[in-house]
Structure formats: structure tokens, C-alpha cells
């Protein structure tokens, strides 16, 4: 049942700044590998939509927000350390 849960992410980036670009690449790679067919990613550029960052309380980019499954979680950084990210997202224990 839990395998069918859809992960919804929102990633706040600063245009194509180095860490932001890395975060996009890392996130999509991670989703493709661990959440195939059950993820949605929305990317928000803070230079274009500063009001959304303010509303969501985002002060640093890149920041990944896990919208579902609840609870909401935020991870700052380029998402380069995969195992830490997976753990933070609650996916690590599913891997053998």
C-alpha cells in the first residue's frame, strides 16, 4: 500500500545557479531510481516568484520541500549526499 503513495516535491531554486542546478539534477535522478511512477516535482525559481518563497518560509536556495506524504519536510542544499537525503525523506529503510 505504501508503495503506491505518491511523493510530491517542490524545489526552490535560484535560476541556474550552481547548487540549484545540481539539486534539480540530483532530485530527478533520485526520483527516477527510488520513486519511479510515483512522484511529482514542481520547481520554483525564487528570482521570479519571491512571494512564493516568502509565503512558504523559504530563505535559502536550493530548498526541497516534501509536500506529501505528510508531515511536510524541508531539505536545504544541492541534494548531493544521496543516503542522507533518502534518510531525510524517509526512504532509506525501504532499501535492503
Amino acid at each position: 500500500m505504501s508503495r503506491r503513495v505518491v511523493f510530491r516535491f517542490r524545489l526552490y531554486v535560484a535560476d541556474d545557479a550552481l547548487n540549484s542546478a545540481r539539486a534539480v539534477i540530483n532530485l530527478t535522478a533520485l526520483c527516477r531510481e527510488h520513486l519511479p511512477g510515483r512522484h511529482e516535482i514542481e520547481i520554483v525559481d525564487v528570482f521570479r516568484h519571491p512571494e512564493r518563497a516568502l509565503a512558504d518560509g523559504i530563505f535559502l536556495t536550493p530548498t526541497l520541500v516534501r509536500l506529501s506524504p505528510s508531515p511536510v519536510r524541508k531539505i536545504v542544499g544541492s541534494l548531493s549526499q544521496t543516503s542522507a537525503v533518502l534518510e531525510a525523506l524517509g526512504l532509506e529503510k525501504r532499501e535492503p
Partner: protein
Amino acid sequence: MKRAKAPSGPTVPPAETSEVVFALIEALHATGKRLEELTAGEVDTVADRHGRPHLLRHAQEALRHTEAARQAAILNALPAHLALLDPHGRVLSVNDTWRRFADANGLRSPAYGVGLNYLEVCDRARGKGAEGAREAAEGIRAVLGGGAESFTAEYPCHSPEQERWFLLMVTPMIHEQPGGVVVVHVDVTAKRLADDRLRESEGRFRQIAENIRDVFFLHEAARERMLYVSPAYEEIWGRTCESLHARPKSWIDAVHRDDQAAIKRQFTEEVAAKPSTMEYRIVRPGGEVRWIEARTFPVRDDSGTVVRIAGLAKDITQLRQTTQELRESERRFSDLLRDVELVAVMLDREARITFCNSYLLRLTGWQQEDVLGRDWFDLFVPPELDGRKRFLATLLGDQARVACHENEILTRAGDRRLVRWNHTLLRSADGDRIGIASIGEDITEQKLAEVRIRRLTRVYAMLSGVNALIVRVRDREELFVEACRIAVEVGAFRMAWIGVVDPKTLDGRVVAWFGGDAEYVGLVRLTGREGTPESERPACRALRQAQAVICNDIATDLSLASIRKGLLEHGLRSAAYFPLTVTGRPEAVMALIAGETGVFDDEELRLLTELSCDISFAMDHIGKQERLDYLAYYDVLTGLANRTLFLERVGQYMRSAAIGRHSLALFLVDLERFRNVNESLGRAAGDALLRQVAELLTRLAGDVGLLARVGADQFAAVLPAVKAEGHVARLLEKAVTGFMEHPFRLEEAVFRISARAGVALFPEDGTDAETLLRRAEAALERAKKDGERYSFYTREMTDAVGEKLTLESRLREALEKGEFVLHYQPKVNLASGSLTGAEALIRWNDPGTGLVPPGRFIPVLEETGMIHEVGRWALHRANADTQRWRAAGLPAVRVSVNVSPLQLRSRSFIDEVRQVVDGNPDGGAGLELEITESLIMEDVRHSIASLQAIRALGVKVAIDDFGTGFSSLSYLSRLPVDTLKIDRAFVTDMTAGPEGLALVSTIISLAHSLKLTVVAEGVETEEQSRLLRLLGCNEMQGFLISKPVPAELFETRFLAQPAG
């Protein structure tokens, strides 16, 4: 989870401002550093309290690097060579393309010229590109100084391998602000080459315009003047271009006076507004007129007004002339159709007449306006021929392109003409069947003449039969019965009867008849009295009036009304009644009744009257037992006619020979040593010998009526119709030999008697019987004197006959000794050139004189009948050669053998062919018989049967010498043949003119429509071969390929190495 804290706002102390500022900067630095340390360099922006993001420094640097790299990438990716120059013209940097170009062209200099002054380099240039380089430097200086917005120039820069062109573009580095330039070199070689090609092709086009034989011209419509003409003008117009250019309006003067108005109109703006074509005449300075075809096209300005007329003028004088000639030839052809002595008519699909020639009108008495548009069947076809419309439908629906038949047509007056038709399907240009075209030959007279000649021949035979009868008959009854039988069996009358009248009562009855039945005979009433119901019947009238009465159409003859029905039911259509008169008094009447109408014409009547006189004479002499009268005409000893009767008969035969335009021969035969027989054996033996001679002669002649005893030991014979040259000679040979070999028996002993003959010919030697007999006597005298077995009255004749007989005996010898050989003439496929067959031709290899041409001996073979034997030999020989070649594995080509008319007529011929075919492993395949067209046509029905039998054996049949008669076309579709050989005469004529070509073309398409293979004979030139190939002829033979060659040569030259 990591979180960065927002920096707190700085406070500024009032004193020690610089210290404060410095500390603030320190703090800021530290904060930024700290922030980056805190976020481990993982964060790009930090937001202030208003949510505005601020890039951290490392992120800013990364971004700058990225931007610079992108721009460099763009510059490097450009195909142009780029260099940035500083305001002094020094090279600041170059892109990758510049470097690659430098590398590839060996221009590698330290740092690719970066740091060098580009202007100085250009200024220093020497040699070929120096001038361009200085120009470039000037342009760059202008842009650098702000004096020009930009500078472009195209310049060649050829490498040793290829020609190259570059485009130099110089633009300021920053617009509206001096401070260096961008120098771009683009390789435009490809574009430049394309431009050059275009220029080149334009040049060529111009060359064409200048050299073409037609005239290009450009005309200014508004001012009626010629602006330009191409040089061909001088050739066609015979005037110089300069003269026209000097006086641009003079072009109209060259136009023919009669065409000037039209041309002026044509060259007005309105008329020329769309493309048009016109033909007009010009007059050259020498007065020569030429035809010009001009096509014009309007040339418009932007507003659409026609400002120029462009055009192309062509000299079509020759073309028009050719067209004219073609029309002339078409006209001649239709004139031919109009004037030919044949019916020509065309019908549309509804049988309406769309064309007819004057011959039809003359034949039928109609006027053209009465005929055109009318229904053919209503106007011309006799009502009893219904179903003819169906025939038209069949014709229109049929695939066959030619159809033939004979039928009667009605004239305006209601007469009938028999026409033999050839129909051809008419097709529109799209191939739809739109009607038929028919050519018809009026064969009415021809048919009548045929019938008449047939009838007259029969009547002569009848006359001769009755004469023979008269000699031997001993009583009246036999005379009557036999005369009737001869009339029906020989004379081909449907019925004959003879009735006699009692001289006292004048009543009569039929006493003899043949060809009818008793029931019919019962209808006959005969009386010599007047005023009875039967007195006006023709038989009775003939009796009473003592003259012949003719009824040429029983159906309409009033005098026979009472018995007409019975007569018609018996198929009797016309009749003639002849009184048989003894000593001036009619004692009997003879009726001759025919199954056709109109049988009794003058000629026939004359002969029949003669016949009735002969019968009357016999009645007389039988009745009165007057032997003396008989003796006046007959030789008592032999029963043959005497000199008087013979001369009378010869006279009769001469008349019919004159009518039939044939010769007649009179023979006088003299027995040798007859006197010796008489003297040594006695008169009785002499008489017996004479009787035996008479019997022998009768057997040889086949008819006692042709013989007479005209002297003690002299007999005469007449040959009423000499059939062919050589006929007489062979008859003589036969008779003389027959005489010599015949065993005459006298008093139990066998005697051989020889005879001599003298011959006179009608009409050459005499035109009356007496003269002819005297000439025969003279000829006989000479034969005696010369010691010849026979002699003609004319010595040349004797010589000719002798020569012929020598040739005959030589040919007989040749056949025995095997002096005949077969030569083979190859036939090849016209399309592929490959060998398809050969014609086997008989040659006589006379050891004395060498090869004898076939024309000299084939006719003799046919006359003597030796053709049967030689023909059989040829068939076997050709077959044996063919089988030998096949067995040797040589190509199995078809070999054709010529068949003589006599062979085809012979009953055993088919069996002979069957024997040959049965002996072959592959039957009749590979064998073909060639039969001349004229022969087949002689007796079409029999020919068809024979040809079918031959083809049933697998043997192919070819029609030889095709094209000798128009009539044959109509039979062609019915003939069971495979191949048609076009006579050499047509092949020769083919190159002589359009008619000859058309004829061959027609024959070929006709043959193809009948699914026949066509072989052209006598092909001697390449031209003939080419035309035949164009016409679709299948095969050819002739000297062009090879003359006939001996079998061995044929084998090595053509079979072992197939012609290809």
C-alpha cells in the same frame, strides 16, 4: 535540517566613522564567509526579511564564469573567423574558427596573431592580395575612428588547392562608442561559385539567343519599332540587323503587302496583351517570299501596361511546303476513292450513309443528295435480305478489322447488282467505333459471265454427246430417251422431255423424259391444233409455229399460268421448247427446263437450236432408213464422221474457241505402210486394221465426236481447246507412242503400225475449217519429207515443241540420276535478327550446263506432271535435312517447301505429307508448306479443305507471293493459314513511293489482324529492311541476308553459328 539565520542590521556609530565602516565591512565579510561555511557551500541564495533573494558570492562567481564560457562557446561555434581589435588595431582575441583556419593554412603564428597590430599587417601586405589588404585596413580605420558604421568587402583568397572568396565585415565592438572593432571573415566561396555559375549560364543563354536559327525580337508597341532582333534575322530576312537598328520601323516593310495590315494589328498593345501565334509572309530583298511563324509575349511594366512585345519568329516555309504536299497527297487519295471504279461508301453506327463515291451513284442512278444521311438498308438493300442490320451490328462489335461478303444491292430503278464487299471498321481518333467503310466491286457481269460460260461449256458437251448418240442410235425411242438423259446429265438442265404429235389428229404426248417424275409429266398437254385451252402453252406454240419458244422466267410467263404452281414446286424456273422437224413438218417438240431464270440467251439458243436440228436429222434418217444421208456424213467402215461432218464440227468448235479466246488444234494422222497391209493381207485385213485404228483413236481422244476418217488411211482429230503450251506436244507424244506400242491384231498376228501427224492450229494457221485441214495436210507432207513423227504447219512451232520435249526427257533423266538439289534461303526475325527458318528451293544441277534457273524447268515439270514426283522428292529431302539437323542438335528452325498447284489438287498429296510427318519424332513441327496465293484462289473451297488437313498434321501453311489480287483479300480471313509472304514486287515498290509503302503497311496490318505471321520476300537493301521493321513485319528473306545456298553451306553458315 540546516537553517541559516538572517543577518542582523548593522548599527553605525557617529564617531570614528571610517572605523565603523571598516568594521562593518569586516562583519559583512565574516558574515558572508560564515554563511557559506554554515551552508557548506551548498546554498546559492539567502533571502532578506522581505523575501528578496541575494546571491552568495561563490554563486555569483560561478554565474559569471558560466556566462563568459557561453559567450566564448558562441563565438567559437560561429563559422566566421572572428578577431577583436582594440582601438589601435591590435588583436585582442580570436575565435576557434580563426585558429582552425590559421592551422589549416599554415599561418600558425605565436598566439595566432594575438597582440599583433592587424592594421600594420594589412599595410605591409605585398603581392597579389596587397591592394585588397590595404582596402581592408582603410575600412577598419574608418570604423575605428567612428567615421563609418561598418565596413564590408569581398576579396579572393585562393589556396593552392582551390579558389576561395571571403567577405570581410568590420563592426564597432560597442556601438556609438569608439573602443575597438570586431573583424569577421566569412567564407563565401560557395555563394560566389553559385553566382559565377549563374553568370555563366546567363552568358550561355545569350549565346544561344545569338546562335539559334529562330529570331528573338523585342518590339516597342507604342512606337511601332523593333528594339532588338537576334542575328538569325539576317539569315531569314536577308537583311542586316544594323539596317533594322538604324531604321527600327522598317521591319514592317519586309512583310508581304497582303499581310501588313494584319501584322500591324497584331502588334498593337491591345492585341498583343496576351501570348499569340501568327503566320505571315515576308519578302526578301531578292523578291523571294518566306513564311514566318511568330509567337509573341507581352512584357509589362509595374502598372501592368504592355510596354514591349517579345517574340520568337521562325522560318516555316519548308514546313508549310511539306504540309501542303501532304494535303495534296491526301487529296489525291480521296480523289482516288472518288474516281475509282469501285463502290466506296461509309456508314455511321446507325447505318446512315456518311460518304459515297460517284461510282455508287452511277451504278444505282441516285444523286448524292438523295443518298447522304439516308439509311443504307432502306435505300440499297433488297427487302428479303433482312438481318443485314444485324450484320452491321456484328461488324461494329467484332474485333476483326476486315470483313467481306457478297450481296445484291438495289438500283434506283429496282434492278439488282451483285457486289463483293470489303468492310473495314472506322474508328475515331480516340479509338471508338464510329462506323464502317466499305469498298465494293460490282461483280454482276462477272458472275453472269461465269455462269454463262459454265452453261455454254455444258451445252457444247451436250451437243457433242448427242452427236455421238446420233451415230450409233438405231431407233427413235432410244434417240429420245438418250437425248433427254444427255440434256440433264451433261447439259445440266433440271429436266428434259420430248413429246411427239400424231400427224393425223395433231394431238401429242410425252414419249421420253429425264430428270422429272411421272406426276409432272402428266401435267404436260401437247397439241398441234389451234384454239384449245392448251394451244397457247409454249410447247404447243413451238410445234405450231415451227420455231423455238423461250420462257426465261416461268414465274411471270402468262402462257404457263395454269401449270406454273406445279413447275415452281418442282424447282423449275425457265424453259425452252424446240420443234423437231422432219422434212419441214414439226413432228415432235423437245423441252429443256432449267432451275434458274434467264438461262436462255442468244448464244445458248443458237447451240440448242443446232442440237434440235441434229436430233431432227437423226429422227429423219432413222425414220426413213435413209442410209444414203447417213453415208453423206459418216464413214460406214469405222462409224467415224467423214470429212464433211468433221469440217462442220471443226467449224463449230472454232466458233466456240473464238468466243472462249483459246486455241484449237487439228491433227491429220497418216498410217504408215497401210498399203502394204492391204496388199499383203488383203482388203478385209485392211478394213479390220482401220476399224482397230478408229477404236484406238477413239480411246485416245476420249470422244468419238472429235474424230473422222478423211482418207483411205488418213484420220483427223480435233482438240477443241488447247489448254497450255505443251499440251499439244504431249498429246502427240502420247498418241505416237501409243500407236507404236499398240498391238494391232490381224489374222491372229500382232502388228505394230506407226503413224505420222500434221498439226495446224487455230487461229494462227487458219480461221476456217477447210483451210485448217489443208494446213494440217501440208504439215503432214513435211513430216513425211523430213522423216519426223509429226510436224506443225509453222516450223518454229515444231522447233519449239521439239526443244520442249528434249527438255522434258532431260528432266526425266535428271530426276532418275538425282540431279535435283535443294538450296536453302534463310529467313530472319526482323526485330531480333535471329534465324527463324529457311525456304527450300529446288535447283537442277545439270552436269552439262551447271545450275539451271528454276524458271526454266519448273513450268515444264508442271506441264508434264513430273512436278508430283519432283515435289514429293523435295518434301522428303527437306524433311530429311531438317531431321538430320535436329538430330545433330542444331537449332530447330522451320523449313518451308513450295507446293505446286498440281500437287495440292492431287488427292494423294495429303497422304504423302502425312507419311513424311508420321516418320518424324516431332511430327509436323518444323515443316511448312508454301502455296501461292493464286493457286489457293483457283478453288477456294477445295483449298480450304486441303489446308485444314495439312494443318491438322501440325504442318504450318504459308501463302506465297501474297498481294497479287484484290479479290484474294476477301478470302484471306477464311483461309486456314499461318504465314503470309509478301511478294517481292511489293517490297521493291515499297521504297519507290508512298503508295507502295502504304500497300505493304496495309498488308502487314491486315495479316496481323488475322493473326498471321508476315514474311517479306526479296529484301535486298537495308532501307527495305528498316521500313519493314518499322511496319512491324515479322520476318524477312532475301539477298540482304543471303541468297539460297546449298544445304551444307546453310548448315555451317547459319545453323552452326546462328545469325545474331
